[in-house]
């Protein structure tokens, strides 16, 4: 009977490289072990730095031996761990694994009472788990996990080759776990940084609003509207999930920063109640470009910076600063344009009172393919009909 030892190690190694989620990985490895070595069940306990113990991460195989994830743990004082921590001292067998069937022999023949105690404890713990083999997963000298295997379905002992394959697998498992932790750490780090970044952006946007006193809350409202429009764009099937998720993040930044250029516009002009002169209007129309120039050096928000630059472009090409037409206007700018216009119409301005919502909606609809991209208008109308446009508190998460 040929046993494809290479296959189990090879398969698993290949799969491990592709998968980042440690739990998906662990289940896969355990399933492979059950499949190829035909054991009744297999569990993996992973070291938890916070709890300082090995927590059961996954358990596969026959129902009657399965343990719910996160329910059981093995502490550092457990004889199994003690044995593994001191494994070089004992050197009982060629490999690092604990195998119940060969434990008995050592237990009977050793005069070391301490060792006998440990082995007795090991046996007891294995019994509790219904396991006959315990495989340590060392990453260099660090014990990052332990795998517990049940009896083989044939009832036969584990062969040396099987134990060797399991040992090889264990180093791969340890490496995968270590990688997964590092990856998770990195993600947490990035997430914290991102939150910090967005908070800074929000503070900056607030500074602009303080200057332009008639539009307090404007940037937040625009962001909320834009996100709702994006939801509907996604529902229309115009973008896929990955694009949607990326754009959500970009819109949060774009929404907050789209008027940052107003920092370069004199307050007197921004808050003027009377009609603007030609020169004053030109000054205001500089704000998208000013804003873009301020943030264009931050490469993480490249997409958002396009929204800042082009949110006053018109679909018919009659907008500013460059008079881009139709599909040449960046997607994200088109969304911000609608959201911005809607909020402008539904809030009081120095020069006119706000419009009723219905009227504002009609204005947007009438300007389909004129000022606004038809897709964005359709998405906007869908959001309006679904009543999701009603302003909610904007969270940065």
């Amino acid at each position: 009977m040929s046993f494809k030892y290479q296959k189990i190690v090879g398969d698993t190694s290949r799969q491990m490289v592709l998968i980042h989620d440690p739990y998906v990985l662990i289940r896969l490895i355990l399933k492979n072990i059950v499949k190829y070595i035909k054991v009744s069940h297999a569990s993996l306990l992973v070291y938890d730095y916070i709890k300082s113990s090995y927590i059961l991460a996954a358990s596969v195989g026959q129902d009657k031996y399965r343990i719910p994830a996160g329910f059981a743990k093995i502490g550092k004082t457990c004889p199994i761990i003690v044995y593994f921590q001191n494994i070089n001292q004992y050197r009982l067998w060629k490999d690092n694994n604990i195998v119940l069937s060969r434990l008995e022999k050592v237990y009977k023949n050793t005069r070391n009472a301490y060792l006998r105690n440990i082995l007795q404890g090991v046996k007891r713990e294995l019994d509790l788990y219904g396991a006959v083999v315990c495989i340590p997963c060392f990453f260099r000298k660090e014990l990052v996990g332990i795998a517990l295997l049940g009896k083989k379905q044939s009832g036969r002992d584990f062969t040396l080759r099987e134990l060797e394959s399991l040992s090889i697998l264990s180093t791969d498992v340890a490496m995968a776990l270590k990688n997964a932790w590092l990856f998770k750490d990195l993600k947490n780090h990035l997430a914290k940084n991102r939150l910090l970044f967005l908070n800074m952006v929000k503070a900056l946007a607030g500074a602009i609003e303080a200057k332009d006193k008639y539009t307090i809350g404007h940037t937040e409202r625009v962001t909320v509207y834009a996100l709702k429009i994006l939801d509907e764009v996604y529902n229309l099937g115009v973008i896929n999930k990955a694009e949607y998720l990326k754009m959500r993040e970009d819109i949060k930044v774009a929404g907050l920063l789209h008027d940052i250029g107003k920092i370069g516009v004199p307050e007197a002009i921004l808050n003027k109640t009377a009609p603007l002169t030609e020169e004053e209007r030109k000054k205001i129309q500089e704000h998208p470009l000013i804003g873009y120039n301020i943030i264009k050096s931050i490469k993480e928000i490249k997409n958002a910076s396009l929204a800042v630059k082009y949110h006053h472009e018109r679909y018919d090409g009659k907008g500013y600063p460059r008079g881009l037409k139709g599909a040449r206007i960046p997607f994200i700018a088109g969304i911000i344009a609608v959201a911005d216009a809607f909020d402008a119409m539904t809030t009081n301005r120095p020069y006119r009172r706000k419009l009723p919502v219905k009227k504002a909606v009609r204005e947007i609809s009438n300007n389909k393919a004129r000022q606004f991209n038809p897709i964005m208008v359709e998405a906007f109308l869908n959001a309006y009909r679904k009543k999701t446009l009603k302003q909610q508190k904007f969270s940065l998460k």
Partner: protein, 121 residues
């Protein structure tokens, strides 16, 4: 044969405990709906109870109180996912035998079972 009652809203946990205890030679009754726990206790009069503290439809500490009021010698072990010092103190005050926080060392449950067997003679 000693009888154990296990009360936990998670079916996976309940099933595991029942299997685990059965392997140790114990008769186990499982209850998933917290609100039935007390009535099942009265009916079955188990030698030991494993009682989950946080369940959606009932509060473990309240059930503990009812059981203890019914039979002050009842042996109840509390199980919980959270380490709430307040809940722990309350449970101990009411008379819980022990308080285990998930994840649990199986050897701890084993030790409890051994003590139970020893006490029953």
């Amino acid at each position: 044969m000693p009888k154990i009652l296990v009360v936990d809203d998670e079916s996976e946990v309940l099933e595991f405990m029942q299997r685990f205890l059965a392997r140790r030679g114990l008769q186990t009754i499982g209850v998933q709906a917290g609100r039935r726990a007390f009535s099942v206790y009265k009916q079955e009069r188990p030698d030991l109870v494993f009682l989950d503290i946080t369940m959606p439809d009932a509060d473990g500490v309240t059930i503990l109180k009812k059981i203890k009021e019914f039979d002050f010698q009842a042996q109840v072990i509390m199980l919980t996912s959270k380490t709430s010092q307040q809940a722990r103190k309350e449970a101990e005050r009411i008379g819980a035998l022990d308080y285990l926080t998930k994840p649990i060392e199986l050897s701890q449950i084993d030790a409890i079972i051994r003590r139970l067997f020893a006490s029953l003679g």
